[in-house]
Symmetry: C2
Subunit: 157 residues, 2 copies
Amino acid sequence: MTEKIMNQKEKIIEEAKTIFTAHIEKHALRKTPERFTILEEIYQTDGHFDAEELYVHMKNQNYRVSRATVYNTLELLVNCDLVTKHAFGKNMAQYEKSYGYKQHDHLICLDCGKVLEFCDPRIQQIKSTMGDIMEFEIKHHSLNLYGQCKKKDCSNK
Amino acid sequence: MTEKIMNQKEKIIEEAKTIFTAHIEKHALRKTPERFTILEEIYQTDGHFDAEELYVHMKNQNYRVSRATVYNTLELLVNCDLVTKHAFGKNMAQYEKSYGYKQHDHLICLDCGKVLEFCDPRIQQIKSTMGDIMEFEIKHHSLNLYGQCKKKDCSNK
DNA sequence: TTGTGTGCAAAAGCTTTGCATGTTG
DNA sequence: CAACATGCAAAGCTTTTGCACACAA
């Protein structure tokens, strides 16, 4: 069972690497070990993270990387849609892997800052309608709902 | 005609001041001239702006204000829903007045960075549905569509 | 008068850049 | 071997904070 999940994750990682390689070749960039290591780190982990967390996480595993390379690589990964960049709060961008993961939006708790995910097909309809009306080719979107959890077990910071 | 528009704008400003005054009194804050001057500046102007633009704009008119007060006051205005805070790009928060102005979302051009506004009632339905399902009391939302203008007059940066 | 709010400048926090070195193609 | 990528640290930018003074209440 766990084995199957691992295999599934490994498979996703391999496919992500293929996509990344294609992007690198298409743009005549270099296949450096750092870039692929960072991609792997991101896809080994679940959930949202920021650049500093990724940097520290890699440092803790004794990888030799710099913040500059982390930021550089994150931008490349965002460009080829392997990673999504969010701005839930005001400062500090948050990222998450996006290949092999269903489309979703976010619900942010105003009390504890927790980020939940949800899906609603109507967002696709809005994108389609607005793209037509405004004569835009919509590439992506960002929908965040902010509110307070009604359950009493919310940490309420 | 212009006169009527001016009167309309003046009326909105007066109402906004009333709301701000109520908020200040409720929270036992002080009615400083700076706070009301900033509110007025914001409501005299249309469109989106960032903190620095507002600061420079006020400096150019020889108002004696500091960045600290601009940020402080913007936060107060966001708290009483007179101003909305956005994060269209990665850095630098953008603001816009929100009283007396219809609810709307944003369409951002990936080529020139222009921000357009649109309305779609389905977003209200999504908020309502998701609030129920996730047991959240949704306070507000942020929906941004990112895309490229199909018209050829787009500045395309 | 009493303490909150302000201006100013310095500090803080996230991200980018410059430079010398290392490595890919 | 030529150009691009990296590591490191310094710089850049937006936002926050500390301090002394000003001024609402």
